[in-house]
Symmetry: C2
Subunit: 347 residues, 2 copies
């Protein structure tokens, strides 16, 4: 039995502890200052306030002030914050933990810098704390928290620099429904699963476009979704291999793209835009909720623009990302550049 | 304006002529002996009997006995037979046409031989007619005939040996809704889009498995579908590159996998099997209709088995294909080998 402290009691942070607790590990849920209600509610009822699922009875709950108590004797720290919490996570958690404590982060995302380079969160964490040598690992691959909590069969990938450490972490979490591949290609896995956010929005545009023909709730069409899915794959592959990721990591991003097209708010905003709403109207309908897909798209396309400008990338390889960025950040209407998707390939 | 003779008046053969006709080309639909009713019905009503769509008023119709008349002056022959019609197509059509007449085939599939080698239909056609040098090209990528007939945006790939010929063919068909990439990687494109039939059945198992939890018509779950989608991608990639296809062709197969999971009979049989029906029960429910997915799965897994036996491939790379074959051909119940999907990858 090991002790796992999870900081961040959002849905994914809370769900990933479930297989670990069922494996007999002690799971300590630590809320961030934003999770106060979630922790209180879970203590009282045993249920997760927003995920609306029963959590394991063995979970122990801590408010953020009690983090040191939760870390006492811990064998693994899970970072469960959203991508909007990464700065907070570095300053308030990663700076405070012993270097010997392995970290597994569920946060998916990418950051771009002023030169137009893209870095993934494990790289970002390490760069923010240059004086510390942390054991950083991350989770990628298709997994929605609800369905993990429901014990649906799921396949993810844990990535990190040290394969033997990854194997040990897998041993804590793996169950007959939660299946874990391992990879030391951190940049590849993290890039693939971050980009799917941007491209899931892109594929979802076709859902709204099809509703223009059939009406909302009408028969769904799939040729256009598939065309955008295949174009997303092409662009994700181009960017992933360009920044040094390995082709072997792409399936986790493509699987994640699949699951993201079918769930949640990214699908919703893509659909609304596809119906013909402006970005402002769509955000209003979503009540201004902040979406990771929009942040990722903006960062990735800003980086790609800079790299196109200095000749590292070619414009013609990213027509879909460019268009999504124009819709979100430059007020363009949806007008998918289908012609630009056409390629010629000679062996 | 060019003259395009389409032999095979099934749904895809009939649909692909629509963009060509709208581009001002003369389209001559030639029914096979099995299409007699379709041709009669279209002549009388202008509609396609099984696709249930209006065909272009400019289409000209021919019964098979009139094929020579339809070929007179033709600039392109489109092969529109299903994969059950390929032998017939070789003997009755490809043997009869001038060698100078370019061919574009919409038939998707693979054939295995006694050594366990897989060949695609353009290779098969040429091998059956060794004394003839035909100009064979083929269509791959995600495109359902209904949605093409409905003018949905669609992205496909034409493949063949001669890029300049491919460009000319594209010019006949390309419209603002029908977009065409080109590739000389015939084996890669054809392998990718054939294999999607087998793997679409595999992904669809998760739909039925989810119905065991939620009931038929209940909330759909996607983690398991995405896990099978990513595993399908891995296995398709392994097989495609193994038989000499290029990684660049894989997106067309993955896009085609996406569209096939969401449409038609392959999804239906996968779902029924996932619910727990035996293969016999599932086929009974589908009234014994012959499915290309079953033929492809059987051929591909027979070839893979032989290549594993003689050391050319590894069993561990194809756990999903192996399981699908066991379900279809050895009476196994659905029991997805999730553990075997786990991989370790070190850069």
């Amino acid at each position: 039995m090991s002790i796992i402290a999870i900081v961040g009691a959002g849905m994914m942070g809370s769900a990933i502890g479930i297989p670990a607790a069922e494996n007999g590990n002690e799971v300590r849920m630590v809320g961030t200052p934003l999770d106060r209600e979630i922790i209180d509610h879970a203590r009282k009822t045993g249920n997760h306030l927003t995920m609306k699922r029963t959590l394991p009875a063995s979970y122990r709950y801590y408010q953020f002030e009690q983090m040191q108590e939760a870390l006492d004797g811990a064998d693994l720290l899970v970072g469960g914050v959203s991508s909007f919490g990464v700065d907070w996570f570095v300053e308030n958690v990663l700076k405070e933990i012993p270097e010997s404590l392995p970290v597994l982060s569920v946060t998916k995302g990418l950051m771009d810098d002023e030169k137009g380079d893209l870095i993934c969160y494990p790289q970002l964490f390490q760069s923010r704390l240059p004086q510390r040598k942390l054991k950083l690992n991350a989770v990628g691959g298709p997994c929605t928290s609800y369905e993990l909590a429901d014990h649906d069969w799921t396949q993810v990938c844990f990535c990190g620099e040290d394969m033997s450490l990854l194997r040990w972490i897998r041993g804590l979490f793996e169950t007959d429904y939660y299946h874990v591949s391992l990879s030391t290609d951190v940049i590849g896995v993290e890039c693939a699963v971050a980009l799917k956010n941007a491209y899931a929005l892109a594929v979802s545009l076709a859902i709204g476009l099809s509703e223009r023909k059939e009406g909302i709730g009408g028969i769904q069409h799939y040729n256009s979704q598939a065309a955008l899915f295949l174009q997303s794959y092409k662009e994700m592959r181009k960017l992933l291999t360009h920044i040094g990721g390995n082709e072997e990591s792409l399936p986790f991003g493509v699987g994640d793209l699949y699951v993201t097209v079918f769930g949640g708010r990214t699908r919703k905003i893509g659909t609304l835009l596809g119906r013909g709403l402006t970005f402002e109207q769509a955000m209003k309908e979503l009540k201004g909720v902040t979406l990771e897909s929009i942040v990722i798209t903006t960062r990735a396309s800003r980086a790609v623009r800079k790299q196109i400008a200095d000749g590292r990338l070619k414009q013609e390889d990213f027509p879909l990302l460019t268009h999504i960025d124009q819709i979100l950040n430059e007020g363009h209407a949806v007008d998918i550049p289908w012609n630009q998707f056409e390629t010629e390939f000679e062996v």
